[in-house]
Amino acid sequence: MSTETTSAAVGPVEGVTLYDAGNPAPLIEPPRKRTGKTPRSTRGNFEMAAWLFMRLSGVVLVVLVLGHLLLQLVLDGGVSKIGFAFVAGRWASPFWQVWDLLMLWLAMLHGANGLRTVVNDYAERPNTRLWLKGLLYTATVFTILLGTLVIFTFDPNIR
């Protein structure tokens, strides 16, 4: 392409002046420009925090849950040994109390956030989303509180 075409490339439309000092062109703001009305933070970073939480809790859960499976289902007779006495023996140690408490909280929050994503993806009507997420959060809070209460108030001499 030669430099000859430069002036010809400006079409007749550009050549006509539609606006002048008395009739200025309308102002079009650049997209996503920060204005006086824009809040300081337009998005917040909850979704980024949730994304990071899934990865961090995921790594910890791999250790906690696979260790839990090994202990409960594989070692020392597998599932056959589990009973009240086995639970009492395990929760006599603060180590396993902390293990189970951490596993409960991380797994519940990891699962709840996962299901929140699934609801966001598939439930299209606003009312459906509201109810499904309300149910999800209620069940999650209830289960976390119940599990925490059970670990902290466990009584080996209940009978």
Binding site: R55, G58, V59, L61, V62, V65, L66, L69, L73, V74, G77, G78, V79, S80, I82, G83, F84, A85, V87, L104, A107, M108, G111, A112, G114, L115, V118, A139, T143, L146, G147, L149, V150, T153, F154, D155, I158, R159
Partner: protein, 126 residues
């Protein structure tokens, strides 16, 4: 099938689908599991009664399925982390999925006897 549910197919999409399905299944089991464990606050008998169902052959098979779901979700989750944080992760995502499936298979064979052995003995006598 509604339009738009099949993305590009192949390893990337199907591992994503499997990750979702196993995740939801594990989460629903977690609710049940916290509830059954809460029975230790009721009485030793109530807890032992419910745990007895966990020791039946049919539930043992479900436990093997649970182990399968958890192992896949755990191994594929590590793969997702590698895809997100390792600079070469996206390039090797397919190879990493097949590595995940190989490790999963070996662990599932290893879990066969510990998880299902007692069920086989219960069904066919020791």
């Amino acid at each position: 099938m509604p339009a738009g549910t099949l993305y590009r197919g192949r390893e990337g999409m199907w591992s994503w689908v499997a990750h979702r399905v196993t995740g939801v299944l594990i989460f629903f089991f977690l609710f049940v599991h916290v509830l059954d464990t809460a029975l230790v606050r009721v009485s030793p008998e109530a807890y032992d009664d419910v745990v007895a169902t966990y020791k039946t052959p049919i539930v043992a098979l479900l436990e093997y399925g649970l182990v399968a779901a958890i192992l896949f979700h755990a191994l594929n989750g590590l793969r997702v982390i590698a895809v997100d944080f390792w600079s070469k992760g996206p390039r090797y995502q397919k190879q990493m999925l097949w590595t995940v499936m190989a490790i999963w298979f070996v662990l599932m064979v290893g879990a066969l006897y510990p998880v299902l052995g007692h069920a086989v003995r219960a069904l066919f006598g020791s």
